[in-house]
Each structure stands twice: as C-alpha cells, then as structure tokens.
C-alpha cells in the first residue's frame, strides 16, 4: 500500500441534488464537495473531524451555469468555476464588481478547479468574491428548504471560516439581484504579493440619483472575523453629492466603525490594516465616483 496524504473516506457521486441531500443526511459525518480545493486542503492539514463520507456534486448535470442579466438578476450554479465566471461576458459587462473581485484571484489552476460557490461557502473573511457579493446584496439559495431557502450572503458567516450552513445544507445557486441603470461600483484590495490572498478587501456599490448618491453598499473583508457592511459609512453618502469631502467622511466612518477590528497576522499588523480601511474605502469610492461622472 502506497502512502496516501488523505485519511480514508467513502466517496459518493449522486445523480441529483435530492440524492446528494439524502446522502448527506444519511451519513453522520459527511461533507459536500464541489471543486474540492478547500476541503481537501483542510483534510490534509489534519482537520479535527475529517469527513468519513464525501458527497461530490461533480456528476450532477446542469449545475454549471451563469444565467440572467443586470436588468433581471443573475444566477450562478454550484459547479460554475471561478474561471468560468471570470471569462463570462455577462459577469464582465453586467456585474463588473464581481468580475473585478474574481480577477483578483491569480492562480489559473485554482480558478480552473475552484468554484465560485465553494470559495464563498468556506466563509473566510478574506474572500474577494464574498466581499463583492455582500456589496451586491446577493443571496444564497439552499436546496431542499421550503420557507427559508434564501440566505443573504451578508448573513452567511458567524465567525472566521464558520458559516451558519448545516452539514446537510447544499447551496444550489448564488442569486444576485438586478441592478438599476445608474449603479456604479468598484473593488479594491491589498495583498502582500499578487497571488497571495487578500489582507484587506473593499467593495462599493453606489446607487446614483442625479449628481448625488441615493443609496450605497460598502462591504469590507479581512478587517473582522466576518465580512461586514460599514453602515455608518454608507449612511454618510446617502442623499449627498459625491465629493472629496463626502468620500472622506464616509471613509472616516468606515475606519471608526465598531466592526472594524482587524487582526494582526503574518500578512499585516491590525493597526496597519485599520489605517488601510480608510484608504481603501476612499480609493474604492473615488473609483466608483469617477465611473458615475463618466456615465
């Protein structure tokens, strides 16, 4: 017997989401797998309770899609890879905020294997994709639920890498609502080196009305255990014209937000990250305002 890096498990390949749900429910310690990057990596690193059954979605037909439009909303399937989404003209032209976030992931191999939904469901506060989805008011649609099938992306995470999903839950789609025509967005992040994961992420989505801003979404990642919306920073922009002053006030509000409590780790000190919240929110708002001025 040759050496194997992974512990033993049973491998199940259901033919439908219903069968997948049954397989998850019938094994006491089962995990669902799409691209597999995060799950297999965690298992290799000796996760506390590695799954004894892996339920792969890969052989279920019809789960790899991007459909819809900016005017009617967009849906992304659970087997859609990050690469699929990055190369999608729909994403690029109609939801540029999501495209910009996806493009921040550099490794072609990771983008080829990893799914958009898998990246989100890991629940890391440094997810470029989840930061963008929070700013886009996206929902996750859970399979096999009745009344409570829609989970707002902003409510997914309870702590770093801990989501509110039950082990039997399967997310069957990301649903991004329609965007009004006068909507301008921007994505900014900081990394140590380009291929590294983000040490701070900011996504802004501004709903414009004349020269002013009717409403705003400002999502911040890697500055707290979960990705959050900086509500006071959003409020600072509501009903005011976009100017250097209003942008600075909003960035200051993000800096002072009680949620803004970044950790110190090998990528940065918490003090530096906190300073950079102000800088990145300002940069993202300036970039979105520049697009609004052109539109």
């Amino acid at each position: 017997m040759l050496y194997r890096a992974l512990p033993e498990f049973d491998f199940v390949e259901p033919a439908s989401l219903e069968e997948a749900g049954e397989a998850l429910a019938s094994s006491p310690n089962a995990a669902v797998m799409a691209g597999g990057i995060s799950l297999l990596d965690a298992m290799k690193r000796g996760m506390a309770q590695p799954p004894t059954t892996i339920v792969s979605l890969k052989r279920i037909p019809g789960l790899r899609y991007i459909e819809g439009s900016r005017a009617g909303g967009m849906r992304i399937g659970p087997l859609t890879t990050i690469r699929d989404a990055e190369l999608s003209e729909t994403v690029k032209n109609e939801y540029p905020l999501l495209h910009d976030a996806l493009s921040n992931i550099h490794s072609v191999q990771v983008k080829t294997m990893g799914t958009v939904l898998g990246n989100v469901c890991v629940g890391t506060p440094a997810s470029d994709i989840l930061t963008a989805l929070v700013a886009l008011d996206a929902d996750l649609r859970l399979a096999g639920r009745d009344g409570d099938a829609l989970l707002p992306a902003a409510s997914l995470c309870q702590a770093a890498k801990r989501t509110c999903l039950a082990p039997t839950d399967i997310v069957e789609a990301i649903e991004i609502p329609a965007l009004p025509e006068r909507c301008c967005s921007a994505y900014c992040n900081l990394t140590r080196t380009l291929p590294d994961i983000s040490k701070l992420t900011v996504a802004v989505n501004l709903f414009m009305d004349g020269a002013g801003c009717r409403d705003a979404r400002i999502a911040i990642g890697a500055a707290a255990p979960v990705i959050y919306r900086a509500r006071a920073a959003e409020d600072a922009l509501k009903g005011v014209a976009l100017s250097a002053e209003s942008i600075a006030a909003s960035a200051e509000a993000a800096y002072n937000d009680p949620m803004t409590k970044p950790i110190t780790d090998m990528r940065s000190t918490g003090e530096y990250r906190k300073e950079m919240v102000r800088v990145l929110v300002r940069r993202a708002l300036e970039a979105a305002a520049a697009k609004a001025a052109k539109a």
Binding site: L2, Y3, R4, A5, L6, P7, E8, F9, D10, F11, G36, I37, L40, D41, K44, R45, I54, S56, K58, H106, S107, V108, Q109, V110, K111, T112, M113, L194, P195
Partner: protein, 156 residues
C-alpha cells in the same frame, strides 16, 4: 472505504486501475504510474508545481482526487515530446535558458501550454498572468516569459 475501478487516459494511453477514493491525482500519476515529471512540492495548492492538464485545463494534482479524473484525458510533461522531437515550448525553454534547478519546469511548461492553447498570441502581461499560479524560486521569470513568448511566435 471502497476502491473504485477507474480508467484514465494518461498522455493518450489508457490505464485501468483500482483506485482508493482518498488517492490524490498526483499520488496515482507519480507513485502508482511512475510519471516522475509530476512533482510534489508545497502539497497545499500554493505553488502550482504539481500542475498537470486534465482535458487540457491546468489543475493542481495535489488537490484533486484521482477518482475525479476518471475517463478524462490527463497530460503530464512526459506527454509533450514526440519521441526525440521536443515540444516547441520545451525547445524554447532550452534555447532561452529558462531552466535552473528545473523542479518547476514541468508545471511551468504545462501551464504555458494551456495558456497558448487558449490564447495563441498572448501579450507579455497575459503570459505573466497566465503563469502566476506556478512559482519558480530560481529564475526570476524573465527567461521563462521570454521562452513562452518565443514559443508563441514560433507557432506562426
């Protein structure tokens, strides 16, 4: 844990094996099938050195279950040369001296092949982006990028 019968097409050759679900693709390719050009390195998806092509797309063989590559076309570095005739990318890597220790070279060439198959005339920037998931700790990338650009031009 039940072993599963699996058919792989490695460099065009059909291989029928009984595979444990927990076997990683690179364990099968390197340890079981003896493709020594499939290199184990960081073992956690950071460096790209274990890259092989599955149905023409670059994947990390350290983070893919072998059973997920059943019935698919797998290309390792051993599959590129035709007898003694090197692949254009291999020729250019030799020509430009894009190799130092050589450990990343199989992955670098395969990643470059996938890039050129999608985009036969990449810009320098596109080459750098296309290769950014594959790390080289010796060369500083200048000669690697030159070699890929030269191979692309050679395909005119």
């Amino acid at each position: 844990m039940k072993s599963m019968p699996a058919t792989f097409y490695v460099n065009g050759v059909r291989r029928d094996l009984l595979v444990d679900p927990n076997a990683l693709l690179f364990e099968i390719l390197s340890d079981d099938l003896g493709h020594s050009g499939v290199h184990r390195n960081c073992d956690r998806g950071d460096c790209g050195i274990c890259t092989v092509l599955v149905d023409g797309e670059p994947v990390l063989s350290c983070l893919m279950l072998a059973v997920e590559a059943r019935e698919r076309q797998i290309t390792t570095i051993e599959g590129l040369a035709k007898g003694a005739e090197l692949h254009p990318l291999q020729k250019e890597f030799v020509e430009k001296g894009a190799v130092q220790c050589g450990y990343c070279t199989p992955a670098m060439i395969l990643t470059a092949k996938a890039l050129l198959d999608h985009n036969p005339r990449p810009t320098k920037e596109e080459v750098k982006n296309g290769l950014s998931g594959t790390l080289c700790r010796c060369t500083g990338y200048v000669k690697i990028v030159e070699a890929v650009l030269a191979a692309a031009e050679g395909g005119k």
